[in-house]
Amino acid sequence: MIRKIILPTIFLLLAYGFWLSPDFKEISAGVAIFLFGMLVLERGFKAFTGGSLEHLLRSTTNQLWKSISFGFVSTALMQSSSLVSLITISFLSAELISLAAGIGIIFGANIGTTAGAWLIAAFGLKVKLSIYAMPMLVFGVILIFQKSKSLSGMGYILTALGFLFLGIHHMKEGFDAFKQTLDLSVYAVPGYRGLFLYTLIGLLATVVMQSSHATLVLILTALASQQISYDNAIALAIGSNIGTTITAILGSLSANVDGKRLAAAHLIFNLITGLLTFIFIHQLISVVDVMSQLMTIAPDNYTMKLALFHTLFNLLGVLTLMPFINRMVTLLEWLFPTPVMEVESARYLTDASAEIPDAAVEAVKKETVILYDHAVDIIIFGLGLNRDKLFSDEAPDRVIDSSSQVGSGAIDDLYERRIKTIYGAIVEFTSHVHGTLSDRQSNALIEQREAGHDIIEVVKGIKHLQKNLAIYQHARNSHICGEYDQIRLKIARILKALNALQHADDETASVLSLDHLKVEISKKDIFASGGLDSLIRKKQITAPMAISLMNDTTYCNAICRNLIHIGERIFVARDPDDKAAEQSVALDEREISEVIERLDERKLR
């Protein structure tokens, strides 16, 4: 009910305000244009999140100081701590970065966000920004229509800056004109009462506008036209800093447990920083005065002093809390424990990971690898093998010799508990990924979905294979027993090769090694080599045994082919160029046949 009333009430109040004062209309339009600029800016930077961002995040967040620097630099450049928070939550949900690194980025972002205040205080309020805004908008819009994604992204950024400048210009003009009709400074509240009241106003303004940057610009323009006092402006800045946490909390509602932990860390940081500022407010103001003198900032240049204060109190928060990041991680892990699941469900496929295409692709990749790991467990169980031995240095044939009795049943139950739900989540997630996906990103999603389908087929194949394996594994007829061991050996070799590829750290490892497996499978085909005919002809196996062997060989070949397809999709190079190169160098079916022919010819010679 209340929700339904809020929006019309705000509209009515604004409309009444516009009717009452054209200056208020200009200030509000300035805020609206500025906020629209922020939206366009986010869109522009998102265009550059196609691959390199993931790499950058990985290489710049392995140490705390690097995480803080990344947060600082990216926020200072993008001028949006909300976007940085959103990207961090997305990447954290996809476990591309650790929680400690995420907290570091958020700390850095809090300092980075103060760069905007410096720019506006130093240049924005002195220069007529609208002069620069117009050409920026024109050039920006032309660039937006360009085919190249990076040029179009640059167009969005340029247009956004045009809107931001235009917004600031209108806010400034509005406040200047407003002063002639109504002096808001008479409502200034001194002392702690004013500090609390204006902190609350700053908090509410930021919650409504969902941008601490916009609030700060509003504060700076109002302060420049002396509509608010310096003390009250400080309180508003503190309030806006706390209010910005709301964006992170809203973003984390759809995130997994890591996203929630990060939002809580953001809240803790801003609350403690706010509290510290309240306690040391007079000392901080004195430090600002001293530093202003050292930096040759005029005593009455309150906008610059406010920018300095904003930076100092965020720096105070970071320096105070930096030594406690690991303790914060422990506390947050205790407050938000990782849920334990009876039935395996998707870990990375959250709404937060769906926000950024790169994080979405990475989340699906990770989930598919988990699905593959579950399938490997099921295959190992179905073939009666020992996981540790299979993936050790022991030769696969010896692993088969020392294997245990193949069990019966249970695969259906394992499929229900460990495969079905995750695959269902992958299919659903890939259909709902937000934002504009590049061709590369949508192809990557399709590939992962196909890999998931292959995994399902493999598990189904193992289920069929398991029945006869259990019967013939220890049969009196050594021939059929040997043939079923060959089937197990064939699959075991592929699992071993894929495991080596999955955990490889040497630089020569690549999915191209799977081509060799394709050759091996074709060469060891019991149908093509005439082995099956020979067994029947020599009456070494009975007709029912032959039928079972024929069926199960077909299942085995399908399992092997699917496993190789899965490997080609999920263990492929991370870099898109390397991936494309690997795919173009990989041999196709005709080329594989040619290699086999050459090998056979060499053997005959």
Binding site: K147, S148, E507, T508, S510, L512, D515, H516, V519, E520, K523, D575, D577, D578, A580, A581, E582, S584, V585, A586, L587, E591, E594, V595, R598, L599
Partner: protein, 85 residues
């Protein structure tokens, strides 16, 4: 001459298709050097191996890599020719 080279580089940067071609060329070159390293490694293993079955396995792997390298070199040649045009 320098200006001409700079202009060519600028042209390469602005032409998305050409940029993709250069990236592909570099990536394939990287893979080919990887494959060359692997071939050497396998040949060394083959020299020291006495078990015939393992020898056969290694020979097979070397043949596959040789075919992949041949394919890669053909692609590199095609890209070079396309760039010349």
């Amino acid at each position: 001459m320098k200006v001409k080279k700079l202009m060519a580089q600028l042209g390469d940067y602005l032409n998305a298709e050409r940029r993709a071609q250069i990236a592909k060329y570099d990536a394939i070159k990287k893979i080919l050097s990887k494959l060359k390293k692997k071939t050497k490694l396998l040949e060394e293993q083959l020299d020291q191996e006495w078990d015939e079955a393992v020898q056969e396995h290694l020979k097979q792997e070397i043949s596959v890599i040789t075919a992949q390298r041949k394919k890669g070199l053909t692609i590199l040649k095609e890209i070079k020719e396309a760039r010349k045009k």
